[in-house]
Symmetry: C2
Subunit: 396 residues, 2 copies
């Protein structure tokens, strides 16, 4: 579709777009209020917990069409649509969620919630600590992928849903879908795991360690108590994002998108303090700067550690054991150029599912975009999701 | 060889070891003294330049057996042997350089010098600026791989050598060997290029950008003037080393060496401020700490930028053009798990050499060690170097 008057970039998204969920609002619910706090895996009690979530589409009378979208490390509850009619910003997976889309809101009731320990509406280290006049900061208890899923399962039950048609997620979101199948086997009819794995690789832990180190050595970190300070650890958090961002892209996609092109000139500046001479540098710096505007440094510490700790095989004995109780069907997708969660990780999941005699479909998708493919290659995903979900839905 | 009394680790290396070059000394020569300074590529004059170097073996009467070892980003002139009889520390490529070894000091005269802009004896930003009472710091002129090779070529001539039997190097050292063949085609009989490429990939530039950002945002950086301060940018430099170190290892080697093993316990600590919970974290932190003891943060900025800028095809028109004047034979080796300088980069060199009708042997070596393979897989290298160098030497 072209528009003769305004270019696509100039125009706000059309709320009347038939494929958009339109205007949506983030809602918040309080769960785990005393005397029923959440006992997190490390042992402490946590509550009350505010949970920020959004829903799209309508819950069927049988309450059997709900799909839970698990977001990745720095995502939020705002998957689709826009928060104001004149907003240009759409949800982070808007291409996948909407009427007629991969997660078809004409048929399905789609839910997404910010994760525990996050900073976009759900209780996390930047939130006021009950009974204190300060945010939790590092007094927030350690959280695991299991704790995150516990909170989301409570939200789903709060919405009157006993069983989800699907839990779907990529990366850290895929870990949540796997954990959900293991922890609440009766709650899932399908689990859709994209660009993820049963654990983070040692290389992934290494990159997370670098990111956390950048944050905690920033002199504005103040041992996590930076909320009342003039500045927070912006440099450290931006640096953490820069290094993480490299791991989300493939070498080929960086090469193709930026190559060795310069940002400002055709000539080298021979200026050591020009930090953004190459386009790729400029891009990374920009990503870092944008990130600190929307993300909390303490949440980054907590959630990367949760990712490091996740190890389904260790938690349940073996990976096959982790899947022994669920009767969910699995769809496992990996991407050829993803080096953060390489294809071998998905193969390991599939192999364990087969061993546990579960039903699994798996695809290894050709994509140049590295780990980010799960966010970008929506057409391929849509093609698979339609029949996979339709069959599961019809089978009841 | 075993020793019944002391373990190998307890004993100092045996200076009488027949395969060791034994005790060696770093020498220094002053070159480019006024009125004949070096005009560096960016345009400024630089001189005098101190050059730190070591030699091993004896120069033949015909002066035709000299091999120049080009060191990588953070290497130094001390390739082989030890600096004191009771020192346990050997040169960084001691396994390759010595009597009967890959670079056989019974036959060849081996030279290695610290690079221009470095911090281990050759003039760089941490050195006193002539006529000033301060180190150069960021007033040091920008240096390129070309400038580095200019200085080394002057050293070789100063030693009375017109033509090298070989220039050999891995990574940034390989870039120097390539540049040498292009810039001083008459000076090389062979060029041996390991784990390197005709330019740094955009992904490599990205990782360097992260490292430099860590240094310049360290509050102890003081815009490079940290030499008279109580502290330098130790955290930033250590962080730069941590992220770079990840790129030197393969995912498989990290997985094999560390996996998800914990450092202190079998149980998770659930402690967000414990930065070294996993062994891989502890290892990286240790690498960072060791690095700041021996390396200058400004040198790190200059040398990584020199690496970013290196682009042989751009400098000479095409890659084949860069090789059009040399009659050196090339040996190009790459390593299957090297993702910083992947095999494709070496293939590009070989392809350009064939196009330029040069003589080239190339090998793609199986190794699990990633980019570091060129330092570790010495046996494979030795097997190739012996006949390759012998033939070139005999052919004259």
């Amino acid at each position: 579709m072209t528009n003769a008057v305004t270019s696509a970039e100039d125009s706000a998204p059309d709320v009347n777009d038939e494929r958009s969920v339109g205007c949506v609002e983030t809602q918040t619910v309080e769960l785990f209020a005393p005397p029923h706090p959440l006992k997190v895996e490390e042992g402490n009690d946590l509550g009350p917990i505010q949970v920020a979530y959004e829903t799209y589409g309508n819950l069927s009378p049988k309450r059997d069409n709900a799909i839970f979208v698990c977001h990745a490390l720095t995502g939020d509850a705002h998957v689709a649509g826009q928060h104001a009619p004149d907003s240009k910003k759409r949800g982070w997976w808007d291409d996948l969620v909407g009427p007629g889309k991969g997660l078809d809101t004409n048929k399905y009731f789609v839910i997404c919630a910010n994760v525990l320990g996050g900073c976009q509406g759900t209780t996390g280290p930047s939130c006021q600590k009950p009974g204190a006049d300060q945010p939790y900061a590092l007094e927030f208890p350690f959280v695991t992928i299991g704790d995150i899923v516990e909170v989301h399962a409570a939200l789903v039950r709060h919405l009157g849903i006993e069983r989800l048609l699907a839990a779907i997620g990529g990366s850290l979101g895929g870990m949540q879908a796997l954990e959900w199948a293991a922890r609440f086997p009766e709650m899932l009819r399908t689990a859709i795991v994209l660009a993820s794995g049963p654990r983070l690789s040692a290389q992934g832990i290494a990159f997370n360690a670098v990111g956390r180190r950048a944050i905690v050595t920033d002199p504005n970190f103040h041992e996590g108590n930076f909320y009342n300070q003039e500045k927070g650890p912006r440099f450290g958090l931006a640096l953490a994002r820069m290094v993480a961002h490299i791991t989300y892209l493939s070498e080929a996609s960086i090469e193709q998108k930026f190559g060795r092109r310069l940002q400002h000139s055709d000539q080298f500046a021979y200026d050591l303090m020009r930090e953004t001479e190459f386009q790729i540098e400029s891009y990374l710096h920009h990503q870092g700067k944008r990130f600190v505007e929307r993300f909390d440094a303490n949440s980054y510490l907590y959630l990367t550690r949760a990712m490091d700790y996740f190890d389904l095989a260790q938690a349940y004995g073996t990976l096959a054991d982790a899947f022994s109780k669920t009767d969910a069907r699995f769809l496992v997708a990996s991407y050829t150029t993803d080096w953060l969660f390489p294809i071998s990780q998905s193969r390991e999941i599939v192999s364990a599912l087969v061993q546990a005699r579960r039903r699994v479909s798996s695809v290894e998708l050709e994509s140049p975009y590295g780990h980010d493919s799960f966010l970008l290659e929506v057409d391929q995903l849509e093609e698979m999701l339609h029949p996979f979900l339709a069959e599961a839905y019809e089978m009841g």
